[in-house]
Amino acid sequence: MSPDRPPVGALFRRFRERLAAGADRAPDDRAAEEDAAGSRAAADRHADRATGSGAGVARSDAGAARAGLAQPPRDVAPTDRRRGGGRRKGGGEQLTVPPAEFTSYYGRPVLKAPVWQWDIAAYLFTGGLAAGSSLLAAGGQLTDRPALRRAGRVTSLAAVGASAVFLVHDLGRPSRFHHMLRVAKLTSPMSVGTWILSAFGPAAGVAAIAEAAPWLPERGVLGVGRRLLPPVGHAAGLVAAATAPALATYTGVLLADTAVPSWHEAYPELPVIFAGSALASGAGVGLIAAPADQAGPARRLAVAGAALELWGAHRVENRLGLLSEPYTTGRAGRLLRAGRALTAAGVAGALVGRRSRVLSVLSGGALLAASVCTRFGIFHGGVASAKDPKYTVVPQRERVERRRSHPEESVS
C-alpha cells in the first residue's frame, strides 16, 4: 500500500459523493416555485439524492397531490371535471398515491426533445399576432375604424413576414423551404399551416400594401394603383381575416400533434389558448395604435382573448396531472405566470385606461408581452416534458397497469 493513499473509507465516500453530485446536476429548479406542499416534496426528493437514504417516495407530482386524487390518471382523455380545493392535504388516500417513480435506460429521455429553437416559439407569437391583427384590421375596415385597419394590416404584414423568416430560419436546410409546397397533407398540421400561410400571407401583404395608396402619385401607372389598391386591399383584407382564425389556431394542433407529452395531452386547450393569445395580441396592437375613440373593439377583444387564454392556460396547468407539472415549474412556469400577470394587467389597463392614451399603449404592450410569454411558456413546457423521461414513462406505465388490471376497459 502506498503511504500517500488516503484512508479507504474516505475514498469510497468519494464514489458515493460523485453519485450524489451526479444526481444534483440534474436540473431541479422546481423547488423554489412550488407551493408549500410541493416544495416539501421537492425538498424531500432533494434530500433523498443527497443523503442516499429513503426510498424515493416523494416523487409524487405536486399538482396531483394537491388535488387529492387517489390515483390521478395521468393520461386520461381530457374531461371537464373541475378541480377541488386544490389545497387539501393529508388524508389516508394520499398514502396510496403512487409516486412518479419510473424507469428508463440510464435515466435518459425516451423521446427526442424538439429541435425547434426559440424562433418557433417566436413564430407562435408572430403568427398569432398576424392573425389577430388582421382580424382587427378587417373589423376596422368593416366598421370604418381606419386607425385599427391601418395598424392591423401593417402589423399583420410585419408579423407574417417575421413568421416566414422565423420558419425558414428554423429549418435545418433553409434553402429547401419550398419543399413545404411539394405535398398537401391533412395529416400534417405543418403542411396545413403552410397552405394557410400561403393563402394568408399574400392577402395580408396586399392588404398592407393597399395602405400605401394615399402616398402614391395621382397620375400615371402608379396613379392607377392608387385608385385600384383600396378595393383590392379591402378584398385581400377580408381574405386574410377569413384565414386568420385558422392561422391562429392551427399552431395549437401543430404542437399538440407530437409525441411531446405535455403538448399532446393539452390538445383540447392549445388552440384555445393560442386563439385567445392571438386575439389579445391583436387587441394590443389596436390599443397601441388606435386613438381612444377607435379602440373600443380592441378593448373588448382584449377581454375576450384574455379570457380564452387564461382559461386555457389554467386548464393545462391543472388538468393534466403529472403532465401539468412542466407548465408550472421551471422556465415555462415562470413564463406562464408572467403571461398571466401581464394579461391581467393589460386587460385591467385596457378597461381602466379607456381615456388615457398612455395607459392604453401600456396595456397594449402588456398584452403583446403577455402573448409572447404565453407562447414561450407553452413552448418550453413541452420541451421540458420531452426532455424528462418521467413524463413519457409514468403515464404510459399507468395506462399499461390500468389495462392490465381492467382488461375490459381497453384504452383507446
Partner: protein, 189 residues
C-alpha cells in the same frame, strides 16, 4: 422540363389524381428514391475475399465501383460465416478506405525530428544497402568449433499474422537465403 411534366411530377397533383390522397407513400416518393438501388447491384466488379481480422475466416464480398471499394459485406455462400460479419469485419470498407491510411513512403533520418518524403525506389535501394551492410558487419561463418553458422544476427524481423501464406513463404525464403535467422511472427506472441 415542360410545365406539364412539372405538374405531373408535383406530388400534390399525384395526391389528387393517384392512389395516395394522403400523400404518405406513392405520391410522396421522389425521383431519387424511385431510382434507388443497392450499390452492390451497380458495382463494376465483385471480388470474393476473406475477412482480415480474426482467424474465423469469414467470407467477404468486395464490391468495386470506378476503381474504388464501394462496399464490403459478408459472403452468404460461406459455410463458415453464412454471410455474417462481426463489427470489425463489417468495418472492413472503412479499414481499406480510411483517410488515415498512409499511401506515401515516409522517412525519418537518424536524429531527425520530423518525417520526410522518400521515393519508393530510393527507399528500396537504401534498405537493400543497409541489409547488406548489416549482414557484412555481423556475419557469422562458423562457431568456435568450426561448425557452420552461415548467419547474421544483426537483422531481425517481426511479421504480423495478417500476411498471406505466399508472402510468408517469400519472406522466409529470402531471409533464410541471406542468413537472417531472427525472423519472428505474431504467432510467437
Amino acid at each position: 422540363m415542360g410545365l406539364r411534366t412539372f405538374i405531373e411530377g408535383w406530388p400534390v397533383y399525384r395526391q389528387l389524381t393517384g392512389t395516395d390522397p394522403l400523400g404518405r407513400g406513392a405520391a410522396a416518393q421522389s425521383g431519387h428514391s424511385a431510382a434507388l438501388t443497392a450499390r452492390t447491384e451497380t458495382a463494376d466488379s465483385m471480388a470474393r475475399s476473406i475477412c482480415p481480422y480474426c482467424a474465423v475466416g469469414c467470407g467477404q464480398r468486395v464490391y468495386v465501383k470506378d476503381g474504388q471499394v464501394s462496399q464490403i459485406e459478408g459472403d452468404p455462400d460461406s459455410p463458415i460465416s453464412r454471410g455474417r460479419l462481426c463489427p470489425k469485419g463489417s468495418a472492413s470498407k472503412s479499414l481499406v478506405t480510411s483517410p488515415l491510411r498512409q499511401t506515401k513512403v515516409r522517412y525519418r533520418r537518424p536524429y531527425g525530428t520530423e518525417w520526410e518524403d522518400l521515393d519508393l525506389d530510393v527507399a528500396l535501394d537504401m534498405i537493400a544497402d543497409r541489409i547488406l551492410a548489416a549482414r557484412d558487419e555481423t556475419w557469422e561463418d562458423v562457431d568456435d568449433k568450426g561448425r557452420p553458422l552461415n548467419r547474421t544476427l544483426g537483422i531481425s524481423s517481426l511479421g504480423g499474422a495478417t500476411l498471406d501464406n505466399e508472402e510468408n513463404y517469400l519472406i522466409k525464403k529470402l531471409f533464410t537465403a541471406m542468413g537472417a535467422l531472427q525472423i519472428e511472427n505474431q504467432a510467437r506472441i
